[in-house]
């Protein structure tokens, strides 16, 4: 497509060739590979983001005595990790209960958030109804409202319902998010052509059939990302579960905190608890980190 630099120099003169060379090497940086300095800087950044996790591994695979003698027991993890994890599992703090609770909450919330967000998103993006505009503005506005601050009445409501201390009190408030609705609306607006809906309707499909067979398949990539983010958000959530649940029926972040007060001085066991609570998300990260990155970057450009 483009002429080589010597040809440009011959036909258009030396300065034109020089300019073209500069343009090719610098403009947009599209073709140029960056130098080692870039990789060095990025390497340092990655080290910083990995190190605290590696430090957890070091502490979790050591023992109390060694840790009390030296901040860094050894640079290579020692062999006590499995023992420590077992000790934490067999201790007085209900780790297994916390694990299953967190899993149940995260799975249910991911499913409901995705389902309800897709339904609302489809409606906002593709259907005409009175009040659509103002309602969508309302959804967007609620994203900027800190609903967490309604804890006091929420606690009263849950206690009235007899849900205090039960995981249903954690599940229900997280079954929908304004972010999810906005996210699916944005996605379906561009990803779902009207022609497809039209075709289904002409074929005599009811509204819900059209949703199920046309909108849902189109929404799948965005739905998967939304499920991923909801799962992570639910898994690491601490504030509300901590207020409404109790020590006998905790979630995993609550367990982590309980270990801190329970094993005051034994950081090998506390960090083993951190390993237990972080490992599932780490696995998820290795499987779907690519989707996480893509999700954040797409969400960013949308705003």
């Amino acid at each position: 497509m483009s002429a080589s630099l010597p040809i440009i120099a011959q036909t258009s003169g030396k300065s034109a060739a020089q300019w073209e060379k500069r343009r090719r090497t610098r403009a947009g940086g599209a073709n140029r590979r960056p130098g080692w300095v870039t990789y060095l800087l990025l390497g340092i950044v990655i080290l910083i983001s990995i190190f605290p996790l590696y430090y957890v591994l070091i502490l979790a695979s050591s023992d109390q005595e060694t840790i009390s003698r030296s901040v860094i027991p050894s640079w290579i993890p020692e062999g006590n990790l499995w023992d420590n994890i077992q000790k934490v599992f067999n201790g007085a703090i209900p780790v297994v209960k916390g694990f299953t609770n967190s899993l149940i909450i995260a799975v249910i919330q991911s499913i409901t958030v995705v389902l309800f967000s897709t339904l609302s998103g489809y409606s906002f993006a593709k259907l005409n109804f009175r009040g659509r505009g103002p309602l969508l503005v309302f959804v967007i506005a609620t994203m900027a409202i800190p609903v967490q601050l309604g804890v006091v009445p929420l606690f009263i409501v849950m206690t009235e319902l007899g849900w205090s201390g039960k995981i249903i009190a954690v599940i229900v408030p997280g079954m929908v998010t304004a972010f999810g609705v906005f996210w699916m609306t944005q996605y379906l607006e561009s990803a779902l052509p009207y022609e497809l809906i039209e075709a289904a309707r002409v074929d005599g499909a009811s509204m819900i059939r059209t949703f199920w067979h046309v909108a849902v398949p189109a929404a799948r990539p965005a739905a998967a990302m939304l499920a991923l983010f909801t799962f992570i958000g639910s898994w690491v959530n601490y504030f509300w579960p901590f207020i409404i649940l109790n020590q006998q029926n905790p979630t995993l972040p609550m367990v982590t905190k309980l270990l801190q007060s329970g094993y005051q001085n034994d950081y090998s066991l506390i960090m083993a608890g951190v390993v237990i609570s972080t490992a599932p998300l780490l696995v998820l990260f290795f499987l779907a980190g690519r989707q996480l990155v893509a999700g954040i970057m797409q969400g960013a450009v949308k705003g």
Partner: protein, 337 residues
């Protein structure tokens, strides 16, 4: 649109029985009803659940805040602004307010600068792009409460890793937990650890959306790399910067987990050095005071602060959008699968 057109009824032929047209009318009516009601049906789960678990509690917080309300005893008399008065008279409130803003500022400002810098480095034709991006995002999957635990140990007062590191340079150990500012720095570090990578990816996406002809024009004008960065990249990122500032304000002013896990007690330190407003709400409602009225008063105050800052941000945004050279944020097409 097409969606609005009901299914077409089959044409009436002469030799049909009488009942047929009414049945068509019925199914047609059903179809129309389907079209009319379905949209509301689909959005109703969100609005109903949100109204019950989000909006109502938030409004009811205001109601509780003007009543005497014991956590166990329940609702008492209407007391007007007494709860607010009581709270404003407690020194803990002012400490919590100071700590929250201090931690928020120490976390968000360096974090945004770092995120933009790292994004600028990532915005090159790298080998193994996804690896670097994932590496930057890794801390995001660590629960804030776990981050608090980890850094609580790293910033231990006596023999922590941070002090060990400072010792290499001959710096005296810092009492990270005992003193005010160091404890804020430690907690801000936790926030930065978890969120810098996330925001980096947001900035990276925005940088990639900047049209390359702007850079080409700058190069023709003889602008160097740094000049390009400050004269094109930063102005073009303005809308994204404001977006990140707003989101980190909403989150940052409600900080709880990291500060709670900073020590084993989780009450904000002996002298409330790192008590945050959300921790204070918890202390009022479920701690020693067992006073829902006061807890609601603080929650309501914090809510107003956050909304006020949000509105302020909004006006700054629209001012920049109308007067500045940068374009308003574009709603770009999402996935191109």
């Amino acid at each position: 649109m097409a969606v609005q057109s009901p299914p077409k009824a089959p044409k009436n032929e002469g030799n049909l029985v009488d009942r047929r047209p009414t049945r068509i009318a019925f199914s047609q009516k059903l179809g129309r009803w389907d079209v009319k009601v379905s949209p509301y049906l689909y959005i109703s789960p969100f609005f109903i659940l949100f109204a019950i678990t989000g909006l109502f509690p938030l409004i009811y917080t205001g109601y509780i805040s003007v009543h005497q309300w014991h956590t166990l005893g329940g609702q008492g008399d209407f007391v007007g602004l007494q709860n607010f008065q009581d709270v404003l008279d407690q020194s803990s409130f002012w400490k919590a307010l100071r700590n929250t803003f201090s931690i928020f500022l120490i976390s968000s400002v360096p974090q945004i600068i770092a995120a933009i810098t790292i994004a600028a480095i990532l915005n090159a034709n790298l080998r193994a792009k996804t690896f670097w991006r994932m590496g930057v995002l890794l801390p995001y999957i660590v629960a804030p409460i776990a981050v608090g635990l980890i850094f609580g140990q790293i910033f231990a007062d006596q023999y922590g890793l941070a002090n060990g590191f400072l010792n290499i340079f001959g710096i005296e150990p810092i009492r990270w937990h005992a003193e005010v500012l160091p404890s804020h720095v430690a907690i801000a570090t936790m926030v930065n650890f978890r969120w810098t990578g996330y925001n980096t990816l947001i900035f990276l996406a925005a940088m990639q959306a900047i049209p390359s002809d702007l850079y080409e024009a700058a190069i023709i004008d003889g602008a160097g790399r740094f000049r390009q960065f400050f004269s094109i990249t930063i102005p073009q990122l303005r809308a994204t910067i404001i977006f990140v500032v707003i989101t980190s304000t909403i989150g940052g002013l409600q900080i709880f987990d990291e500060a709670r896990a900073f020590d084993a007690q989780g009450t904000g330190g002996a002298d409330k050095q790192w008590l945050t407003l959300t921790m204070y709400i918890h202390e009022l409602g479920w701690g020693n005071q067992l006073n829902f009225g006061r807890a609601a008063a603080v929650a309501w105050l914090l809510f107003l602060i956050i909304v006020a800052i949000g509105i302020l941000n909004f006006f700054i945004t629209s001012k920049i959008a109308t007067s500045g050279g940068s374009k308003p944020k574009k709603f770009k097409k999402v996935g191109k699968r």
